[in-house]
Symmetry: C2
Subunit: 138 residues, 2 copies
DNA sequence: TACTTATATAAGTCAACACTAATTTGCCTG
DNA sequence: CAGGCAAATTAGTGTTGACTTATATAAGTA
């Protein structure tokens, strides 16, 4: 049947979340905030921290590349990666529509404080259900 | 074997990306920006747009709930969902370390414009690879 | 009470994805 | 050129997670 006709909401930049879903990839990006790094350098750190192989890291680098999170530059046999902020900016833009939810909350809090109110929260807490699914490790 | 011993980098707010990796869940959140909605209302829209079943939507709602993206309130048999911005705020905070990459770029661009330069971009274009897998629709 | 509506859960299936080991490609140096 | 790094690719495997259908729970209504 397949409907889902690609409505508006940020045609691009949407996959960005998929990419960032992986902790290894987030870590790689963080390493790159220090500036341009050779694949090998990144790989060394990540292999050590996560205990995965070089090809695994290379594959993550590929995903980041393919989705525009990094740019690469050749230096002899080495590949120098840097952050390309574009997809991150897309996420930032996507977040925009939610910012009011916390600024609102801050404003309300501010008001309360000014008025010296000691509001009793209506205990809207979500039910104690807290099954945090699979992934046995932890 | 499971190494990965939970290093530092943002202990919380990290699963958030996993949750937002799914377009259905992003859509649900967007629907909730209009305000508190009954599960059924959300479900109707999403079922129509994505062509998935009610339980599927319910499961997505569960994920959003379990990860703190929504709060729920009972109204008779209905469940009224609202946005809880906390995890989104976490993401916003995580983005912070990357903002300089685009503000920087803007500054540089500004400088260039002022100087009347017509910089030639180093054609760092990423390869045309564009595999976009899952959810055949689109 | 029985019937319906609203929503969640259970159990099972299938495809995607993060790995691994093996190999390839390319550059650099003796 | 041979050999050795640096990095990417290939092929195969196990686990996860997004779905399905069927069913359960619970509240409203006749």
């Amino acid at each position: 049947m397949l409907t889902y006709i690609s409505i508006g909401w940020h045609p691009e930049g949407v996959h960005a979340f998929d990419v960032l879903g992986d902790p290894v990839r987030r870590r790689i990006l963080e390493l790159l905030t220090a500036g341009e790094q050779a694949a090998g350098a990144v790989s060394a750190v990540v292999q050590d921290e996560f205990g995965i192989s070089q090809p695994a890291v290379s594959q993550h680098l590929r995903v980041l590349r393919d989705h525009g999170f990094t740019t690469v530059r050749a230096d002899g046999a080495r590949r120098l990666y840097s952050v390309d902020p574009e997809p991150l900016q897309d996420i930032d833009a996507w977040l925009e529509q939610y910012r009011r939810f916390w600024t609102q909350r801050l404003d309300a809090l501010g008001t309360e404080l000014v008025r010296g109110r000691r509001a009793r929260r209506s205990s809207s807490g979500r039910p104690p259900r807290n099954r945090k699914p699979r992934r046995e490790g932890e």
